[in-house]
Assembly symmetry: C2
């Protein structure tokens, strides 16, 4: 099980590989939110999302003989790119199984990072069967996107940075808003903060209609989403919270926050105009919650922008709907 | 005259106020350039450009009694915003004289930062006369955009960071490409690098048709641009190199690099897609030179992206013309 020692070990393996992303802010955002809003832009991480941290953490911890045979992952995009680049940097093959309707930029980037991409049809094909066959044939190690202690530890290194950066800013109490799909990022950050900055509490953030984590935290058991696709926030749509991640979130996180797709797009436009960063809708749900769910928040907030792999058309839509 | 001690003093005054921007990179950009390209994104600085550094440096060094009466500046945009925010953070009034055809976002932001904006017509009005009258009437201190030792010192703090970050990356020899208008940024960075990282050489970068610095470095005397407007790279269009900045550049910088407006737009699109940062055309000329002027470069490059205050329409044009 992931603990702070495992996260610190992941950080040592990530040293010189992952970027320490800065903390950004804007008086314009503070004014909208009516509170101080700090932003941790993991869209500036290698491959454009925090997923590189978990991928590197897991791959770097493998036995070298096992690792050399290669890795396999299922992903609609950001985990795919993180695994592909981390594998390439280790000089090992990577096979990524992606839905054919994943954002084009994510599929193309995954290929460009050197991975072999196998596309499947979410509606009619069983990705697990495809993956099981390939990994058996080629002795590939599966790198799970979130329900894997080493992946959670890698994502948790973001929380170590937030704890340090909050201290530098003199912040000892704050809500840390984290875009949440399966919960690897939120649970990893929560573990780090519990150990290093106990006044900082993680609040998982999700898009409306895909709020399995918020409902699970409320009910105390793992709830499922009725649909598996259909949100602009594709990066963080998962069937239900992870088996490993959910107990961590249930113990350490505050209530979930839910925003609409349009609020996420508004946050995309504001991040563009006010912070000069490129954020995808799923990566912007925490910033959206910081700006538009003030009645559910208390005091300073630190909003994590988890990824920036947005197709140009979606960015255009965000800027059209929400001009400065 | 600005020296390394003055830059280090500026850094001390800027501590806790300016952001230490990270170093970014992308294997996609390295592939286009055929070399390692590192990017220093000053678009992530407060107000979306490096100009905040110089403004804070100058305002924070004023005698408190003089400072309390307020400051005045001439600027088409980024210096305006830097001065406006630095003045507001000091609790003093700021008057900014801007051309009425400056980018809308820059005018609106300058007002939103609390400054009084006075618009003038570049073709038919004398901005110096307007400024002289206002500063005399109200005893405002003029904060020059580049030909001012304290401003150069503030911009030079970027060079101290580059020197440290290059050392962390193991880079001891590199060309440091800097978008250049009047030369405050390039000369400040050059002074820092000469003192702290002598293997790193500044190369000023400009848009075609407004290459006064490149021509001045070639001829050895301050040359003028034939036109004062008409480039997408509005942020870095100035009549000629500064009186104070030019001798520093002539002593410390390598040859100037010149890119087309379309190459700058291409760099804007690539920065968006590959680095997840928002850069304005003038702020992207150094990245454009890194990517498209390889025959004039040697070894690793560090390209500074100096500002991100781009109107949405220009960004749309960049993405339309240069899709991934």
């Amino acid at each position: 099980m992931t603990d702070i020692a495992m996260i610190e070990a992941a950080r040592a393996r990530l040293a010189g590989q992952a970027r320490r992303t800065p903390i950004l802010s804007s008086p314009f955002l503070d004014e909208i939110a009516g509170r101080r809003v700090f932003v941790k832009p993991e869209c500036l991480q290698h491959t454009g999302s925090f997923k590189f941290r978990g991928a590197w953490s897991a791959i770097s911890a493998l036995d070298p003989v096992v690792r050399a045979r290669g890795v396999i992952a299922f992903s609609s995009g950001n985990h795919a790119q993180g695994v592909a680049l981390a594998a390439r940097m280790h000089g090992i093959p990577a096979v990524i199984i992606m839905p054919f309707d994943a954002p084009r930029i994510k599929i193309e980037n995954t290929k460009a990072y050197g991975a072999e991409v196998v596309l499947y049809d979410r509606a009619n094909e069983d990705r697990d069967a495809i993956g099981a066959r390939l990994s058996q044939e080629r002795q590939l190690t599966l790198i799970k996107p979130y329900d894997e202690p080493l992946v959670i530890a890698g994502q948790g290194t973001t929380g170590l940075e937030i704890a340090e950066q909050a201290a530098e800013l003199g912040i000892t109490q704050a809500e840390v808003l984290v875009p949440t799909g399966g919960g690897g990022f939120a649970s990893g950050i929560a573990l780090s903060l519990a150990a290093k900055a106990p006044g900082l509490t993680v609040r998982p953030c999700e898009p409306q209609g895909f709020d399995d984590v918020a409902r699970s935290l409320a009910s105390g058991k793992r709830e499922r989403n009725p649909h598996q696709a259909g949100s602009l926030c594709d990066a963080i749509v998962t069937p239900q919270p992870g088996e490993i991640t959910f107990p961590i979130m249930a113990k350490l996180c505050g209530e979930g926050l839910v925003v609409t797709d349009d609020e996420a797009l508004h946050a995309v436009a504001l991040a563009f105009n006010r912070l000069k960063i490129v954020v995808e809708p799923g990566g912007a749900v925490a910033l959206a919650a910081a700006l538009f769910r003030g009645s559910e928040l208390d005091g300073d907030v630190i909003a994590v922008c988890s990824g920036g792999n947005i197709d140009a058309d979606i960015l255009r839509m965000a800027l059209d709907r929400h001009p400065v």
